[in-house]
């Protein structure tokens, strides 16, 4: 990045572009989260299950995010790995109300962490323990225990509880991600 670009981005004139991959099981709330991060004018009313994937854009004060919102349905999950190489950050969404499928989320996370395109990279991963509003939802601490986040030693990660319907907890997570990306050398 040239001196001018740096100055421009510092002044907020030109934002840095980042590719983010949004992963997680179907129905975990990925599309709803991304929809909420977009400016109010660009939001859509109803969210339908994603087929394949969709590309969305939103920006924070200093970064411009291009998000690959992947479908979480079993038959589309093998598409995920095609986008690992391009991704500079990963958002992993977990439905904290779906206790039964915690093992499935853990299994998919395992596959992700062991993939050659991810394994040896210091790629930041942001976890959303989503649907915190549900009556029988697990706390974000419990979720991180269940899917074994403490095993991630060589990557920066963060988990925040969220409610994608109201947007609660989303900002906290995205700020953490922005800090991580800015601190990364280019």
């Amino acid at each position: 990045m040239g001196l001018f670009d740096k100055l421009a981005s510092w002044l907020g004139l030109k934002r840095r572009e980042v590719n983010v991959l949004c992963l997680g099981l179907d129905n975990s709330g990925k599309s709803t989260i991304i929809n909420h991060l977009k400016p109010a004018s660009a939001r859509v009313q109803d969210i339908v299950p994603t087929i394949g994937f969709s590309v969305e854009k939103f920006s924070t004060s200093s970064l411009s995010f291009t998000v690959f919102d992947m479908s979480g349905q079993g038959r589309y999950r093998n598409l995920w790995e095609n986008y690992y190489r391009e991704a500079q950050a990963i958002i992993f969404v977990i439905d904290s109300g779906d206790k039964l499928r915690m093992v499935v989320a853990m299994e998919e996370l395992d596959t992700l962490l062991n993939h050659p395109d991810v394994k040896h990279r210091r790629i930041p991963i942001l976890f959303f323990a989503n649907k915190m509003d549900l009556r029988d939802a697990l706390s974000s601490v419990k979720v991180s225990q269940l899917i074994g986040l403490d095993r991630i030693k060589d990557k920066p990660w963060h988990i925040s509880g969220s409610n994608a319907l109201t947007g609660e907890g989303l900002q906290e997570g995205v700020e953490w991600l922005q800090d991580q990306i800015r601190s990364m050398k280019t």
Partner: protein, 596 residues
């Protein structure tokens, strides 16, 4: 609830994962879920139209108390309804097509079918009562009027029971007969005013789509009634019985496939150890499979039927009852269920065993073994919550085990069972039946009677011709054995040499017991252009009974054309022109002359 503990922190641990773990994820295990049930009492369906499948369990409780219909959502119990009697089967079916689609639950229990909709009791459907033995009815009505005491009642009921075995007694009588003498008084006083009714008992209800095969199709339920050996097919959404089929024995397991309006097939395993296959438009079973031991489970995998038997075997049959294979199991079967993963096109049979294992069979091949914490008594595989490949099992101790099939799991079609090598099951390349063969077979089948008759006529003709020829021979004494009582003689002739000179030996024997024969002559008749003989007529010496008299003479062949002829030999009695014996000697071709 119990969470699986976090696994494998590093790569080394991955290598230690056993066969089962590489296929299944342990989603949930609750050893004290208090669920006591069997496979036909469980089901999965989206009962609330929210895209999440729930688990329906007809809980047997202790068998006396705590019978319940339970519905689970994820790892939690969503609702509970008390049942009055033991549930014998659960079926989930579509009653209406109002959006969102909310299927109803049918629970068979005693003589009733309870229908639940939106997790609430909705309708009770009573099966028609069966006929009652009039004698039995009479006895009980006398009891009501205090005309007979418990002792006489017992005797009379015993009598009715032994006399009439095709109309079983009703429940009250049975319970009375089981009591000790001192308890009978109280029982009679308690029960004498109850009406007498003998009820149909239901076994597994099962269902099929009525006319269309899509998700929204209304479904029909097949009810298997226990005591009158018949199958009822009723459309539960009209609440009326419409078809009845009779069976030779009481049904135990049932499988239904097809559509009620178009074509369907019902496979029933019965208590008499036979499996019957019924089709639409047939009041009687179309095919019958006779098992060598009692069936304990029945599963249909696409077009085949897989049966588990008490002798620890698993048998595969075609839908026409032809046996395909046998697999031997290491322990008795506790339950069986189908694994049908539509999105992955995976079909297999899950067999719960008494050694706390669940075996997964694809055809006769054992493809996976799941070790469970306890003996599994019910298995249900399907979409649960939002996960397509969920395996739900309940155990003997009342536990609930939920496993999820890994997205990456692959099942190899390799044969893990000991037994005959694969080569043995390779089909031989048998040529197709020709049209000629088929036509011939058809002709034989159609004209069997006429063909049999024609054959019989020809056979009699042949016998007649033979008998006639034999008589003629006897009359003309053309045979080499004399049957006359005075001169019982036997003769045989031997030709020796390669020509042109042959030696003729005639062995003559008197077969009578004690009488010698005298005054016999021997004469030859032959073509004089072909053969020459030194003497063609001579006297036979006296024949002593039992001894063999070889008479030798020489024949010369005159022709060099390689032809041969017959020489006739006659045994004659002095003064008579009809011979006693005749022998035809087929002369061999003279080789010596042609070679010379």
């Amino acid at each position: 609830f119990n969470f699986p503990t976090a696994r494998y922190d590093d790569d080394n641990n991955n290598n230690n994962r056993n066969e089962t773990n590489s296929k299944w994820l342990d989603a949930h295990y609750d050893p004290v879920a208090n669920l006591y049930t069997f496979s036909s009492c469980t089901g999965l369906a989206d009962l609330q139209g929210d895209g999440e499948n729930k688990l329906v369990v007809g809980d047997l409780g202790t068998g006396v108390y705590n019978m319940k219909l339970k519905v689970y959502k994820g790892t939690n119990l969503l609702s509970e309804n008390t049942l009055l009697d033991l549930p014998t089967g659960v079926a989930i079916f579509l009653m209406d097509q109002n959006e969102p689609l909310t299927p109803a639950i049918a629970v068979a229990s005693g003589p009733y079918i309870y229908i639940y909709k939106n997790l609430r009791p909705y309708f009770k459907f009573t099966l028609p009562a069966l006929e009652v033995n009039p004698l039995e009815q009479e006895v009980w009505s006398q009891v009501k009027e205090d005309k007979i005491d418990p002792v006489t009642l017992k005797e009379m009921l015993e009598g009715i029971r032994y006399k009439n075995d095709n109309l079983p007694l009703f429940k009250k009588s049975f319970r009375f007969l089981m009591l000790d003498m001192q308890e009978t008084e109280a029982f009679v006083n308690l029960h004498k005013h109850q009406p007498i009714k003998r009820q149909t008992f239901l076994d597994t209800p099962s269902y099929f789509a009525k006319s269309r095969s899509d998700r929204r199709a209304l479904t029909c339920t097949v009810l298997c009634t226990y005591s009158n050996k018949s199958l009822h097919i009723s459309s539960l959404f009209f609440f009326s019985l419409n078809t009845q089929m009779s069976l030779p024995s009481a049904p135990a397991f049932l499988d239904v496939t097809g559509q009620f309006d178009v074509e369907f097939r019902i496979t029933v395993a019965c208590r008499n150890g036979n499996i019957y296959i019924l089709r639409r438009d047939a009041k009687r079973p179309k095919y019958c499979i006779e098992l060598s031991s009692q069936p304990v489970g029945l599963v249909r995998v696409s077009k085949n039927v897989v049966v588990g038997c008490t002798n620890e075997t698993l048998l595969g049959y075609t839908q026409k009852g032809k046996k395909l294979w046998t697999a031997y199991l290491p322990a008795p079967i506790t339950t069986m269920s189908l694994l049908d993963h539509k999105t992955r096109g995976l079909q297999a049979v899950l067999v719960g065993l008494a050694n706390s294992e669940v075996h997964m069979y694809r055809d006769k091949n054992l493809v996976n073994i799941i070790n469970t914490q306890d003996v599994v008594t019910s298995i249900c595989f399907g979409r649960y919550g939002r996960e397509d490949g969920t395996l739900i099992m309940t155990t003997k101790g009342g536990g609930l085990i939920i496993k999820i099939l890994k997205r990456t799991a692959q099942f190899e079609e390799k044969d893990m069972t000991p037994g005959p090598p694969l080569a043995q099951s390779i089909k031989l390349n048998i040529p197709k039946k020709t049209k000629l063969y088929v036509d011939q077979t058809l002709r034989e089948r159609e004209n069997a009677v006429a063909m049999h008759r024609a054959f019989q006529v020809d056979l009699y003709r042949l016998r007649l011709t033979t008998a006639r020829a034999y008589i003629k021979n006897l009359e003309a004494s053309l045979n080499p054995m004399s049957s006359s009582a005075l001169e019982p003689l036997k003769m045989n002739a031997v030709v020796q040499g390669i020509g042109p000179s042959f030696k003729l030996t005639l062995n003559i024997q008197n077969t009578s017991a004690a009488r010698p024969v005298i005054n016999l002559f021997l004469s030859f008749l032959y073509d004089e252009k072909l053969y020459s003989m030194k003497t063609s007529f001579f006297k036979i010496p006296m024949l002593v009974p039992g001894l063999n008299y070889p008479i030798e003479t020489f024949v010369d062949c005159l022709s060099d054309k390689g032809i041969s002829d017959v020489i006739k030999v006659f045994v004659l009695r002095e003064g008579k022109s009809t011979p006693l014996l005749t022998a035809h000697i087929n002369m061999p071709v003279s080789e010596g002359l042609s070679a010379a």
